[in-house]
Symmetry: C2
Subunit: 360 residues, 2 copies
C-alpha cells in the first residue's frame, strides 16, 4: 500500500506526476541536449506557465538552480555589497542569515522566538541594509508572514531590494512580484515534484545591482550561476550549465496543470483545508496549534504541539500509511508538522484528521 | 521510433533506466525525507557502489551537488587561497580556468590549440600554484589526458593539490584516486542518467585545506555546499540541503549494475568500441579523426572533422533516428562529436558506422 505524505517537503507528489514522468520517458527528455531547440521550448513552457500561475511580470527573469539553498547564496553574492537584513524566526530564515555571514556580508537580523511571526509595524530596517530578506513561510515552525505586511515593508523601503523565500509556500501566497525584487522556491514542496530543482525569480533592479557589484574590486558575485550569466542565457531560454532538464519539464507540466485548475481555486482549496486542520487542532486532546497568533499561521505547513511525545503519534499514523513530519530541531519530540500542499487532497486531510481523532 | 543518442551528454540513457525509474516510483522515492533513514541508505548504497566501481579510498568523501559546474566553483573556493594552475585545451577546461578568475584567484593556465592534448614532460607548474586543475576528458574537443601522465604530474607535485575533471569520462579512466586529491563528474554522461546531479570526490587533505582557509580573514570558502559542511553531513550520509534524491537513487542503481558487469569488462568494451570508431574514421571519405596524436584521443567522446558541413551529416543521421552532436563552439559546422559511453552498445556503434558509410 502506498504512503500518503503530509510532510513539508519532499512531499506528496502531484497526482499527475506518474503520467508526466511517463511522457518525459516517451519523449526521451533525459537524453536531449540542453542546447537544443527542444530544451529551449521546455524552458519557455515552464517559464510561461509559472508567469501565469504566480503573476510574474514579463520583465523579470526566471532561472533554475540545484536547490533553493543555492539561491540564498546567489542572492547574497549578487545583491549585497556590504549589508543585508534578515527577519529570523526559525531554522530556515536563520540559515539564510548564516549564509550571509559565511559570504562575509555584514548581516543584521531581527529575531523572534520559535512560533512567532512578524508584522509590518514592528520592523525597523537598519539604515545601511541593501537587501531585506523575508521568509514568507518558515517551514521549521509553520509561521507565515502575511502578503500585506511584506508589501508594506517593501513599499516603505523602495530604495532597498527585497528577497522573499517562498520555498514551502509558492505558488499559494498572493505576492506582488511587480513590487518584490526577487523570490525563490523549490519544487519538492507545494509543486509536488521530486527534489533537485530551485527556481529563482529576479527583476531588472537585481540584474543592475549584480552588474554594478561585478565591477567593484574585492567583491565577487560568484563564478557559478551568477545573475548576469544566468540572465544572458535566459534571454534565449538557455542555461549556463547543464540543468535538471527533467525537473524543468515536470515543473512546466505541473504549472500548466495548476493553471488549468486556476490559481484562485487552488488558493481557495488550500484555505479550506487549512481551516479544517486548524479547527480540528483547536479542540483536539492530542495536540494543539503551535502558532498562537492566527494571522501568522501558515496555510501550507501546519505545526502542532503534541500533548505526549510526537513519536507515538507519527508511528501510529505511519501504520495507517500516513506520513507526517516531526517538529524541527529542538521541537522534534514535542511537535508534528503537517503539509497542506495542493497535492494533499481534502479527502486525504479528512482521513488524517479522522486518524488523529481515533487516537484521542 | 525512439532515437539513439550518440551525444556527449545529456546522452543515451542506461538500458535499465526505465526499470530503475519504475522502482523509484513504486518506492515513492520522490516523497521521502532527505533526513530519513531511508535516504541515508540510498546515499550509502550509492557511495559504496561508486567506491567499488572507481576504486575510491574509504578515507575520501563523496558528495552531491546540482552539477559538475557547481563543483568547479566549490573546488576553487575551498582549495585555493591565492593561485591555481589550469591545463586548458578546450571550452570546458577554459571554463574551469574562468571560474577561477571570477572567484578572484590568481589563475595560471598552460593552453594548447583545439585538438591537442597534454603530456607529462611538457608541463611546468608555476611555483606558487596551490592546485593543479586537469581536465581528463575535454568534452568539447575529444582530447583526453592519459592516466599515467596525470599520475606522474601529481607524483612530482606532492605538496600541491590536484583536481581532475572526469565529467565526460568517469568511470572509464583508471585514475588512482588514492593519489589524486579531488575529482568530479556528472551523471548525464557515461552513467547514462538524466542531468541534475554532480558528484564530488575529495580526500582529507582537501578537507584540511578548506578548514584552514575558512579561518583566514578575507577568504571565503562559500556559504552553500562548502567542503567542511558537506563532509560533516556526509559522515552520517546526509546532505546540508535537500539534494536530488531521485538522481542519487538512480546513480546508485546504475553503479550497482555496472559493478555486476564489472568495470574491467566495461573498460574493455569501451576500448573496443572506440577502436572501431577510430578505425572507421581513418579510412572514411566523409570525415577524419580530429585529434592527431593517438595517445590523446578520447575513449568516450570521439571528435571527427567533417569534409563537408557537419549539418548535413547530422540531419541525415537524425532521419535514421541517430543523434550525434555538432562540433563545439567555433567547430560547430566542421566537426561532429560521437559519444562512446557504456550505454552506447557495440550494436549501436555498428549501426552508426554503417549509416556513415552509406553516406560516403
Amino acid at each position: 500500500m502506498k504512503n500518503i505524505y503530509f510532510t513539508a517537503g519532499p512531499a506528496e507528489l502531484n497526482p499527475k506526476f506518474e503520467e508526466f514522468m511517463r511522457q518525459a520517458i516517451d519523449e526521451q527528455i533525459g537524453s536531449i541536449s540542453h542546447r537544443s531547440g527542444q530544451f529551449r521550448k521546455i524552458y519557455q513552457h515552464c517559464v510561461e506557465n509559472l508567469r501565469t500561475l504566480m503573476n510574474i511580470p514579463a520583465s523579470s527573469g526566471i532561472f533554475f538552480t540545484g536547490s533553493a539553498s543555492e539561491v540564498w547564496e546567489r542572492i547574497l553574492l549578487n545583491l549585497v555589497e556590504h549589508e543585508s537584513f534578515h527577519l529570523v524566526n526559525g531554522s530556515f530564515s536563520d540559515k539564510f542569515y548564516k549564509y550571509a555571514v559565511s559570504a562575509q556580508k555584514f548581516a543584521h537580523k531581527f529575531e523572534k522566538p520559535i512560533g512567532e511571526g512578524f508584522s509590518y509595524g514592528e520592523i525597523e530596517v537598519p539604515e545601511y541594509a541593501e537587501l531585506i530578506c523575508v521568509t514568507q513561510n518558515e517551514t521549521s515552525t509553520g509561521v507565515q508572514m502575511r502578503e500585506a505586511d511584506i508589501h508594506k515593508l517593501k513599499r516603505s523601503n523602495q530604495k532597498r531590494l527585497m528577497a522573499v523565500d517562498m520555498v514551502s509556500s509558492a505558488p499559494i501566497p498572493e505576492l506582488d512580484l511587480d513590487l518584490i525584487d526577487t523570490a525563490f522556491f523549490s519544487v519538492q514542496k507545494a509543486f509536488g515534484l521530486p527534489a533537485g530543482l530551485g527556481v529563482w525569480i529576479a527583476n531588472e533592479k537585481c540584474l543592475e545591482k549584480a552588474k554594478r557589484l561585478a565591477k567593484y574590486d574585492g567583491v565577487t558575485i560568484g563564478a557559478h550561476h551568477n545573475l548576469p550569466v544566468l540572465w544572458k542565457n535566459y534571454e534565449t531560454y538557455e542555461t549556463p550549465a547543464t540543468p535538471n532538464v527533467l525537473g524543468i519539464y515536470l515543473l512546466g507540466k505541473v504549472a500548466e496543470e495548476m493553471n488549468k485548475t486556476g490559481i484562485e481555486t487552488i488558493r481557495k482549496e488550500t484555505d479550506e483545508k487549512a481551516k479544517k486542520i486548524y479547527k480540528y487542532l483547536e479542540t483536539s486532546n492530542l495536540c494543539s496549534i503551535a502558532v498562537k497568533n492566527p494571522e501568522h499561521r501558515s496555510k501550507t505547513v501546519v505545526v502542532a504541539d503534541t500533548k505526549k511525545s510526537s513519536k507515538g503519534i507519527i508511528e501510529a499514523l505511519k501504520e495507517k500509511n500516513m506520513i507526517v513530519g516531526s517538529g524541527y530541531g529542538p521541537n522534534k519530540d514535542t511537535q508534528i508538522r503537517i503539509s497542506n500542499f495542493p497535492s494533499n487532497t481534502m479527502e486525504q486531510i479528512d482521513m488524517l484528521i479522522a486518524a488523529l481523532k481515533a487516537m484521542e
